[in-house]
Amino acid sequence: MTVTSYFLPDSVPEALGLLETHGSSLLVMAGGTVAMPLINEGISLPGVVMGLRRAGLDRIERVGAELRIGATVTLTRLLDQDTVPMLRQAAGRTASWSIRNMGTVGGNLFTPPPGGDVAVALLALDARVTLTGPRGDRTVPLSEFWTGFMTSDLRPDELLTSITVPIEPGATTFVKFGRKHANTPAVVTVAVHLAVQGGTVTGARIALGAAGPHPMRAPGAEAAITGSALEPEAVGEAAAAAARECQAFTDGVASEWYRRRMVGVFVLRALTELAQPAGPAIGGGA
Protein backbone atom coordinates (compact mmCIF):
# COMPACT_ATOMS: atom_id res chain seq x y z
CA MET A 1 0.00 0.00 0.00
CA THR A 2 1.54 3.23 -1.15
CA VAL A 3 -1.23 5.62 -0.12
CA THR A 4 0.24 8.32 2.12
CA SER A 5 -2.98 10.20 2.78
CA TYR A 6 -6.65 9.32 2.50
CA PHE A 7 -9.04 12.24 2.79
CA LEU A 8 -12.74 12.05 3.59
CA PRO A 9 -14.01 15.61 3.12
CA ASP A 10 -17.27 16.56 4.88
CA SER A 11 -18.42 19.00 2.19
CA VAL A 12 -18.08 19.87 -1.49
CA PRO A 13 -16.04 23.06 -0.79
CA GLU A 14 -13.60 20.99 1.27
CA ALA A 15 -13.40 18.42 -1.53
CA LEU A 16 -12.74 21.16 -4.12
CA GLY A 17 -10.02 22.57 -1.86
CA LEU A 18 -8.29 19.17 -1.80
CA LEU A 19 -8.55 18.97 -5.60
CA GLU A 20 -6.91 22.38 -5.87
CA THR A 21 -4.12 21.47 -3.44
CA HIS A 22 -3.27 18.07 -4.90
CA GLY A 23 -4.27 18.49 -8.53
CA SER A 24 -4.49 15.49 -10.78
CA SER A 25 -2.36 13.36 -8.42
CA LEU A 26 -5.45 13.07 -6.20
CA LEU A 27 -7.49 9.95 -6.95
CA VAL A 28 -11.18 10.69 -6.42
CA MET A 29 -13.19 7.70 -5.25
CA ALA A 30 -16.88 7.35 -4.45
CA GLY A 31 -18.12 3.80 -3.76
CA GLY A 32 -14.72 2.22 -4.34
CA THR A 33 -16.06 -0.66 -6.41
CA VAL A 34 -13.88 0.28 -9.39
CA ALA A 35 -10.90 2.00 -7.73
CA MET A 36 -10.33 -0.39 -4.81
CA PRO A 37 -9.87 -3.56 -6.90
CA LEU A 38 -7.17 -1.76 -8.91
CA ILE A 39 -5.48 -0.51 -5.74
CA ASN A 40 -5.70 -3.93 -4.04
CA GLU A 41 -4.16 -5.53 -7.11
CA GLY A 42 -1.34 -2.97 -7.33
CA ILE A 43 -2.47 -1.86 -10.79
CA SER A 44 -3.30 1.60 -9.47
CA LEU A 45 -0.76 3.06 -7.03
CA PRO A 46 -2.16 6.43 -5.94
CA GLY A 47 -0.29 8.49 -3.37
CA VAL A 48 -3.24 10.55 -2.21
CA VAL A 49 -6.88 9.54 -2.39
CA MET A 50 -10.10 11.37 -1.64
CA GLY A 51 -13.20 9.38 -0.68
CA LEU A 52 -16.56 11.08 -1.19
CA ARG A 53 -18.75 9.03 1.19
CA ARG A 54 -19.14 11.92 3.65
CA ALA A 55 -19.16 14.85 1.21
CA GLY A 56 -22.94 15.35 1.48
CA LEU A 57 -23.69 14.26 -2.10
CA ASP A 58 -26.12 11.48 -1.18
CA ARG A 59 -29.49 13.19 -1.62
CA ILE A 60 -32.06 12.07 -4.17
CA GLU A 61 -35.01 14.37 -4.68
CA ARG A 62 -37.71 15.24 -7.14
CA VAL A 63 -37.60 18.90 -8.13
CA GLY A 64 -40.53 19.79 -10.38
CA ALA A 65 -40.35 17.61 -13.48
CA GLU A 66 -36.84 16.37 -12.72
CA LEU A 67 -35.17 13.83 -10.48
CA ARG A 68 -31.96 15.16 -8.98
CA ILE A 69 -29.56 12.42 -7.90
CA GLY A 70 -26.53 13.25 -5.78
CA ALA A 71 -23.30 11.77 -7.16
CA THR A 72 -22.84 9.38 -4.23
CA VAL A 73 -26.40 8.06 -4.07
CA THR A 74 -25.91 4.28 -4.06
CA LEU A 75 -27.34 1.98 -6.72
CA THR A 76 -29.41 0.30 -4.00
CA ARG A 77 -31.24 3.56 -3.46
CA LEU A 78 -32.29 3.65 -7.12
CA LEU A 79 -34.19 0.44 -6.39
CA ASP A 80 -36.21 2.26 -3.72
CA GLN A 81 -37.58 4.94 -6.02
CA ASP A 82 -40.53 4.75 -8.43
CA THR A 83 -40.11 8.15 -10.08
CA VAL A 84 -38.00 6.84 -12.96
CA PRO A 85 -38.76 3.12 -13.49
CA MET A 86 -35.93 2.59 -15.97
CA LEU A 87 -33.35 3.55 -13.34
CA ARG A 88 -34.80 0.93 -11.02
CA GLN A 89 -34.57 -1.66 -13.80
CA ALA A 90 -30.98 -0.70 -14.62
CA ALA A 91 -29.82 -0.74 -10.99
CA GLY A 92 -31.48 -4.13 -10.50
CA ARG A 93 -29.44 -5.59 -13.34
CA THR A 94 -26.16 -4.14 -12.08
CA ALA A 95 -23.67 -6.19 -10.02
CA SER A 96 -24.77 -7.77 -6.73
CA TRP A 97 -26.49 -6.60 -3.55
CA SER A 98 -23.24 -5.81 -1.67
CA ILE A 99 -21.80 -3.96 -4.65
CA ARG A 100 -25.03 -2.00 -5.17
CA ASN A 101 -24.81 -0.99 -1.50
CA MET A 102 -21.40 0.55 -2.24
CA GLY A 103 -21.40 1.61 -5.89
CA THR A 104 -22.74 5.07 -6.65
CA VAL A 105 -24.65 6.68 -9.52
CA GLY A 106 -21.85 9.20 -10.07
CA GLY A 107 -19.22 6.47 -9.97
CA ASN A 108 -21.17 4.48 -12.55
CA LEU A 109 -20.45 7.26 -15.08
CA PHE A 110 -16.71 6.60 -14.60
CA THR A 111 -16.94 2.81 -14.80
CA PRO A 112 -15.19 1.48 -17.90
CA PRO A 113 -17.19 -0.72 -20.30
CA PRO A 114 -18.50 -3.37 -20.15
CA GLY A 115 -19.48 -1.96 -16.71
CA GLY A 116 -21.59 1.13 -16.22
CA ASP A 117 -25.09 -0.15 -16.95
CA VAL A 118 -26.90 2.62 -15.06
CA ALA A 119 -24.99 5.16 -17.16
CA VAL A 120 -26.59 3.66 -20.29
CA ALA A 121 -30.06 4.17 -18.81
CA LEU A 122 -29.16 7.74 -17.81
CA LEU A 123 -28.02 8.44 -21.39
CA ALA A 124 -31.33 7.18 -22.82
CA LEU A 125 -33.16 9.33 -20.27
CA ASP A 126 -31.30 12.43 -21.53
CA ALA A 127 -29.74 13.12 -18.12
CA ARG A 128 -27.45 16.07 -17.45
CA VAL A 129 -24.50 16.14 -15.09
CA THR A 130 -23.56 19.01 -12.82
CA LEU A 131 -19.82 19.64 -12.66
CA THR A 132 -18.79 21.79 -9.73
CA GLY A 133 -15.51 23.70 -9.79
CA PRO A 134 -13.90 26.69 -8.12
CA ARG A 135 -15.95 29.03 -10.34
CA GLY A 136 -19.24 27.34 -9.59
CA ASP A 137 -21.43 24.83 -11.38
CA ARG A 138 -21.75 24.01 -15.05
CA THR A 139 -24.16 21.58 -16.59
CA VAL A 140 -23.30 19.19 -19.40
CA PRO A 141 -25.69 16.85 -21.22
CA LEU A 142 -24.58 13.28 -20.64
CA SER A 143 -24.56 12.84 -24.45
CA GLU A 144 -21.60 15.28 -24.53
CA PHE A 145 -19.91 14.22 -21.29
CA TRP A 146 -17.72 11.31 -22.41
CA THR A 147 -14.87 12.03 -24.79
CA GLY A 148 -13.26 8.58 -25.03
CA PHE A 149 -12.33 5.49 -23.05
CA MET A 150 -12.15 6.63 -19.40
CA THR A 151 -12.00 10.28 -20.45
CA SER A 152 -14.63 12.96 -20.08
CA ASP A 153 -15.33 16.67 -20.15
CA LEU A 154 -14.64 16.86 -16.39
CA ARG A 155 -11.79 19.31 -15.71
CA PRO A 156 -9.07 18.47 -13.18
CA ASP A 157 -10.38 21.05 -10.71
CA GLU A 158 -14.01 19.90 -10.97
CA LEU A 159 -16.12 17.32 -9.21
CA LEU A 160 -19.20 15.64 -10.66
CA THR A 161 -21.73 16.48 -7.95
CA SER A 162 -25.15 15.50 -9.29
CA ILE A 163 -27.11 13.95 -12.12
CA THR A 164 -30.43 15.41 -13.22
CA VAL A 165 -32.99 13.25 -15.01
CA PRO A 166 -35.99 14.80 -16.75
CA ILE A 167 -39.25 13.06 -15.89
CA GLU A 168 -41.06 12.95 -19.20
CA PRO A 169 -43.78 10.78 -20.69
CA GLY A 170 -42.62 8.13 -23.07
CA ALA A 171 -42.14 4.44 -23.62
CA THR A 172 -38.97 3.04 -22.11
CA THR A 173 -37.18 -0.25 -21.87
CA PHE A 174 -33.86 -1.46 -20.51
CA VAL A 175 -32.33 -4.71 -21.72
CA LYS A 176 -29.04 -6.15 -20.54
CA PHE A 177 -27.55 -9.28 -22.06
CA GLY A 178 -24.78 -11.03 -20.13
CA ARG A 179 -23.35 -14.51 -19.83
CA LYS A 180 -25.23 -15.13 -16.57
CA HIS A 181 -28.61 -14.07 -15.31
CA ALA A 182 -27.30 -11.88 -12.48
CA ASN A 183 -24.12 -10.11 -11.41
CA THR A 184 -22.57 -10.29 -14.84
CA PRO A 185 -20.70 -7.93 -17.15
CA ALA A 186 -22.68 -6.99 -20.24
CA VAL A 187 -22.21 -8.41 -23.70
CA VAL A 188 -24.45 -5.50 -24.59
CA THR A 189 -26.85 -3.19 -22.76
CA VAL A 190 -29.65 -1.35 -24.57
CA ALA A 191 -31.75 1.45 -23.08
CA VAL A 192 -34.52 3.10 -25.09
CA HIS A 193 -36.76 6.09 -24.54
CA LEU A 194 -39.41 6.84 -27.17
CA ALA A 195 -41.71 9.83 -27.38
CA VAL A 196 -44.91 8.72 -29.06
CA GLN A 197 -47.85 10.68 -30.45
CA GLY A 198 -50.90 8.99 -31.95
CA GLY A 199 -49.03 5.74 -32.45
CA THR A 200 -46.11 7.41 -34.21
CA VAL A 201 -42.62 7.71 -32.75
CA THR A 202 -41.88 11.42 -32.61
CA GLY A 203 -38.57 11.18 -30.82
CA ALA A 204 -36.19 8.33 -30.02
CA ARG A 205 -33.19 7.92 -27.79
CA ILE A 206 -31.40 4.58 -28.09
CA ALA A 207 -28.37 4.16 -25.82
CA LEU A 208 -25.87 1.30 -26.05
CA GLY A 209 -23.53 0.01 -23.37
CA ALA A 210 -20.53 -2.31 -23.77
CA ALA A 211 -20.63 -1.37 -27.46
CA GLY A 212 -17.95 1.32 -27.51
CA PRO A 213 -15.40 3.14 -25.37
CA HIS A 214 -18.24 4.67 -23.33
CA PRO A 215 -22.05 4.51 -23.35
CA MET A 216 -23.20 5.97 -26.66
CA ARG A 217 -26.35 6.84 -28.56
CA ALA A 218 -27.17 5.13 -31.84
CA PRO A 219 -28.24 8.08 -34.06
CA GLY A 220 -28.76 5.96 -37.20
CA ALA A 221 -31.07 3.61 -35.33
CA GLU A 222 -32.91 6.55 -33.79
CA ALA A 223 -33.45 8.11 -37.23
CA ALA A 224 -34.70 4.78 -38.62
CA ILE A 225 -37.61 4.55 -36.20
CA THR A 226 -38.45 8.23 -35.81
CA GLY A 227 -41.67 8.84 -37.75
CA SER A 228 -42.49 5.12 -37.80
CA ALA A 229 -45.13 3.23 -35.88
CA LEU A 230 -42.48 0.64 -34.93
CA GLU A 231 -43.43 -1.56 -37.87
CA PRO A 232 -41.16 -4.65 -38.16
CA GLU A 233 -39.37 -3.12 -41.20
CA ALA A 234 -38.48 0.07 -39.30
CA VAL A 235 -37.42 -1.90 -36.24
CA GLY A 236 -35.25 -4.18 -38.37
CA GLU A 237 -33.66 -1.20 -40.07
CA ALA A 238 -32.93 0.42 -36.70
CA ALA A 239 -31.35 -2.78 -35.37
CA ALA A 240 -29.15 -3.08 -38.47
CA ALA A 241 -28.12 0.57 -38.17
CA ALA A 242 -27.19 0.14 -34.48
CA ALA A 243 -25.06 -2.92 -35.27
CA ARG A 244 -23.29 -0.93 -38.04
CA GLU A 245 -22.65 2.23 -36.07
CA CYS A 246 -21.66 0.78 -32.68
CA GLN A 247 -17.97 0.55 -31.80
CA ALA A 248 -18.01 -3.02 -30.53
CA PHE A 249 -14.81 -4.32 -28.91
CA THR A 250 -13.31 -7.63 -27.85
CA ASP A 251 -12.69 -8.48 -24.20
CA GLY A 252 -12.98 -11.49 -21.90
CA VAL A 253 -16.77 -11.32 -22.09
CA ALA A 254 -17.33 -11.32 -25.84
CA SER A 255 -15.61 -10.75 -29.17
CA GLU A 256 -16.13 -7.69 -31.33
CA TRP A 257 -17.82 -9.93 -33.95
CA TYR A 258 -20.29 -11.37 -31.42
CA ARG A 259 -20.98 -8.07 -29.69
CA ARG A 260 -21.82 -6.32 -32.95
CA ARG A 261 -24.38 -9.03 -33.78
CA MET A 262 -25.82 -8.95 -30.28
CA VAL A 263 -26.23 -5.17 -30.52
CA GLY A 264 -28.50 -5.81 -33.52
CA VAL A 265 -30.37 -8.61 -31.78
CA PHE A 266 -31.00 -6.70 -28.57
CA VAL A 267 -31.94 -3.41 -30.21
CA LEU A 268 -34.43 -5.46 -32.22
CA ARG A 269 -35.78 -7.11 -29.07
CA ALA A 270 -35.98 -3.85 -27.13
CA LEU A 271 -37.92 -2.09 -29.88
CA THR A 272 -40.13 -5.12 -30.54
CA GLU A 273 -41.00 -5.16 -26.85
CA LEU A 274 -42.09 -1.53 -27.13
CA ALA A 275 -44.16 -2.17 -30.27
CA GLN A 276 -47.76 -3.02 -29.39
CA PRO A 277 -50.38 -4.16 -31.94
CA ALA A 278 -51.89 -0.68 -31.79
CA GLY A 279 -48.53 1.07 -31.98
CA PRO A 280 -46.09 1.93 -29.22
CA ALA A 281 -47.61 2.25 -25.76
CA ILE A 282 -47.07 5.31 -23.66
CA GLY A 283 -45.47 4.13 -20.42
CA GLY A 284 -46.04 5.78 -17.08
CA GLY A 285 -43.35 8.38 -16.61
CA ALA A 286 -39.84 8.23 -17.96
Binding site: Y6, S98, N101
Partner: protein, 162 residues
Protein backbone atom coordinates in the same frame (compact mmCIF):
# COMPACT_ATOMS: atom_id res chain seq x y z
CA UNK B 1 3.99 7.17 6.49
CA UNK B 2 1.69 8.48 9.21
CA UNK B 3 -0.64 6.00 10.79
CA UNK B 4 -4.23 6.92 11.52
CA UNK B 5 -6.48 5.82 14.36
CA UNK B 6 -9.99 4.73 13.42
CA UNK B 7 -12.82 3.95 15.83
CA UNK B 8 -15.84 1.91 14.83
CA UNK B 9 -18.35 -0.39 16.43
CA UNK B 10 -17.66 -4.11 16.00
CA UNK B 11 -20.50 -6.38 17.11
CA UNK B 12 -21.76 -3.72 19.52
CA UNK B 13 -18.39 -2.86 21.05
CA UNK B 14 -16.23 0.16 20.16
CA UNK B 15 -12.84 -0.76 18.78
CA UNK B 16 -9.86 1.47 17.93
CA UNK B 17 -7.34 0.44 15.34
CA UNK B 18 -4.13 2.09 14.21
CA UNK B 19 -3.55 1.61 10.49
CA UNK B 20 -1.74 2.89 7.45
CA UNK B 21 -4.03 5.12 5.37
CA UNK B 22 -6.64 3.22 3.34
CA UNK B 23 -6.08 -0.17 4.92
CA UNK B 24 -9.12 -2.24 3.99
CA UNK B 25 -11.73 -3.15 6.56
CA UNK B 26 -11.16 -6.78 5.48
CA UNK B 27 -7.52 -6.65 6.47
CA UNK B 28 -8.25 -4.89 9.77
CA UNK B 29 -10.96 -7.36 10.76
CA UNK B 30 -8.97 -10.44 9.86
CA UNK B 31 -5.39 -9.46 10.67
CA UNK B 32 -5.77 -7.03 13.56
CA UNK B 33 -9.02 -8.02 15.24
CA UNK B 34 -8.95 -11.78 14.76
CA UNK B 35 -12.23 -12.06 12.90
CA UNK B 36 -10.91 -14.81 10.65
CA UNK B 37 -14.35 -15.62 9.26
CA UNK B 38 -13.73 -12.56 7.06
CA UNK B 39 -11.85 -14.24 4.22
CA UNK B 40 -9.14 -12.70 2.09
CA UNK B 41 -10.58 -13.96 -1.17
CA UNK B 42 -10.33 -12.08 -4.45
CA UNK B 43 -9.81 -8.50 -3.10
CA UNK B 44 -11.89 -7.42 -6.10
CA UNK B 45 -15.40 -7.40 -4.68
CA UNK B 46 -16.05 -10.37 -6.92
CA UNK B 47 -16.32 -13.36 -4.59
CA UNK B 48 -18.24 -12.21 -1.50
CA UNK B 49 -16.12 -14.18 0.98
CA UNK B 50 -15.29 -10.97 2.89
CA UNK B 51 -18.90 -9.79 3.18
CA UNK B 52 -19.75 -7.97 6.42
CA UNK B 53 -22.70 -5.86 7.53
CA UNK B 54 -22.13 -2.11 7.79
CA UNK B 55 -25.05 -0.48 9.57
CA UNK B 56 -26.98 -3.66 8.75
CA UNK B 57 -26.24 -3.62 5.00
CA UNK B 58 -24.03 -6.23 3.33
CA UNK B 59 -20.83 -4.82 1.86
CA UNK B 60 -17.55 -6.17 0.54
CA UNK B 61 -15.02 -5.35 3.27
CA UNK B 62 -12.13 -5.71 0.79
CA UNK B 63 -13.39 -2.61 -1.04
CA UNK B 64 -13.84 -0.45 2.06
CA UNK B 65 -11.03 1.69 3.43
CA UNK B 66 -11.44 1.26 7.19
CA UNK B 67 -11.63 5.06 7.56
CA UNK B 68 -14.99 4.90 5.73
CA UNK B 69 -16.60 2.93 8.57
CA UNK B 70 -15.43 5.27 11.35
CA UNK B 71 -18.36 5.67 13.74
CA UNK B 72 -20.40 3.02 11.97
CA UNK B 73 -21.53 -0.42 13.10
CA UNK B 74 -19.80 -3.48 11.63
CA UNK B 75 -20.95 -7.07 12.09
CA UNK B 76 -19.04 -10.14 10.91
CA UNK B 77 -19.96 -13.81 11.19
CA UNK B 78 -18.31 -13.76 14.63
CA UNK B 79 -20.84 -11.11 15.66
CA UNK B 80 -23.74 -13.25 14.41
CA UNK B 81 -22.58 -16.40 16.23
CA UNK B 82 -24.09 -16.63 19.74
CA UNK B 83 -21.80 -17.23 22.74
CA UNK B 84 -23.31 -20.68 23.10
CA UNK B 85 -24.43 -22.81 20.19
CA UNK B 86 -25.25 -21.62 16.71
CA UNK B 87 -27.42 -18.96 15.11
CA UNK B 88 -30.51 -20.56 13.47
CA UNK B 89 -29.08 -19.72 10.02
CA UNK B 90 -25.81 -21.47 10.94
CA UNK B 91 -27.78 -24.47 12.20
CA UNK B 92 -29.74 -24.54 8.94
CA UNK B 93 -26.49 -24.53 6.91
CA UNK B 94 -25.22 -27.41 9.06
CA UNK B 95 -28.44 -29.42 8.71
CA UNK B 96 -28.76 -28.89 4.95
CA UNK B 97 -25.03 -29.38 4.21
CA UNK B 98 -24.98 -25.83 2.88
CA UNK B 99 -21.18 -25.94 2.58
CA UNK B 100 -18.38 -28.18 1.48
CA UNK B 101 -14.96 -26.60 1.87
CA UNK B 102 -16.49 -23.81 3.96
CA UNK B 103 -14.53 -20.92 2.47
CA UNK B 104 -17.61 -19.06 1.18
CA UNK B 105 -19.80 -19.98 4.16
CA UNK B 106 -19.16 -16.92 6.37
CA UNK B 107 -20.06 -14.56 3.52
CA UNK B 108 -23.11 -16.64 2.62
CA UNK B 109 -24.39 -16.61 6.21
CA UNK B 110 -23.76 -12.87 6.61
CA UNK B 111 -25.75 -12.16 3.43
CA UNK B 112 -28.49 -14.58 4.53
CA UNK B 113 -28.71 -12.78 7.89
CA UNK B 114 -29.06 -9.42 6.13
CA UNK B 115 -31.70 -10.84 3.78
CA UNK B 116 -33.83 -12.25 6.61
CA UNK B 117 -33.44 -9.01 8.61
CA UNK B 118 -34.77 -7.06 5.60
CA UNK B 119 -37.33 -9.61 4.45
CA UNK B 120 -38.32 -12.41 6.87
CA UNK B 121 -40.10 -14.44 4.16
CA UNK B 122 -38.15 -14.09 0.91
CA UNK B 123 -39.15 -16.02 -2.19
CA UNK B 124 -36.66 -18.46 -3.72
CA UNK B 125 -35.88 -15.88 -6.43
CA UNK B 126 -35.17 -13.28 -3.77
CA UNK B 127 -32.82 -15.70 -1.99
CA UNK B 128 -31.01 -16.41 -5.26
CA UNK B 129 -30.74 -12.71 -6.08
CA UNK B 130 -29.39 -11.90 -2.61
CA UNK B 131 -26.65 -14.51 -3.07
CA UNK B 132 -25.64 -13.40 -6.56
CA UNK B 133 -22.49 -11.66 -5.26
CA UNK B 134 -21.25 -14.69 -3.32
CA UNK B 135 -19.33 -17.35 -5.19
CA UNK B 136 -19.31 -21.02 -4.13
CA UNK B 137 -17.22 -23.41 -6.22
CA UNK B 138 -18.22 -26.57 -4.32
CA UNK B 139 -21.93 -26.91 -3.73
CA UNK B 140 -23.56 -25.69 -6.91
CA UNK B 141 -25.54 -23.39 -4.60
CA UNK B 142 -28.61 -25.63 -4.19
CA UNK B 143 -27.84 -26.77 -0.61
CA UNK B 144 -27.11 -23.14 0.33
CA UNK B 145 -30.42 -21.92 -1.10
CA UNK B 146 -32.19 -24.81 0.64
CA UNK B 147 -30.47 -24.02 3.94
CA UNK B 148 -31.71 -20.44 3.80
CA UNK B 149 -35.22 -21.55 2.84
CA UNK B 150 -35.22 -23.96 5.77
CA UNK B 151 -34.04 -21.17 8.11
CA UNK B 152 -36.96 -19.08 6.84
CA UNK B 153 -39.39 -21.93 7.57
CA UNK B 154 -37.87 -22.51 11.03
CA UNK B 155 -38.22 -18.80 11.87
CA UNK B 156 -41.85 -18.94 10.66
CA UNK B 157 -42.61 -21.88 12.95
CA UNK B 158 -40.87 -20.10 15.84
CA UNK B 159 -43.06 -17.06 15.11
CA UNK B 160 -46.23 -19.21 15.01
CA UNK B 161 -45.43 -20.78 18.38
CA UNK B 162 -44.69 -17.43 20.03
Amino acid sequence: MDKVIVTFELAGRDVDVMVSPMTTLQSVLRNQLGHTAVKDGCRQGGCGSCTVLVDGEPMMSCLLPVEDVAGRSVITLEGITPTDGLHPIQQAFLDANGYQCGYCTPGMIVVAKALLDHNPSPSRDEVVDALSGNVCRCTGYLPIIEAIESAVRAAGQQEARA
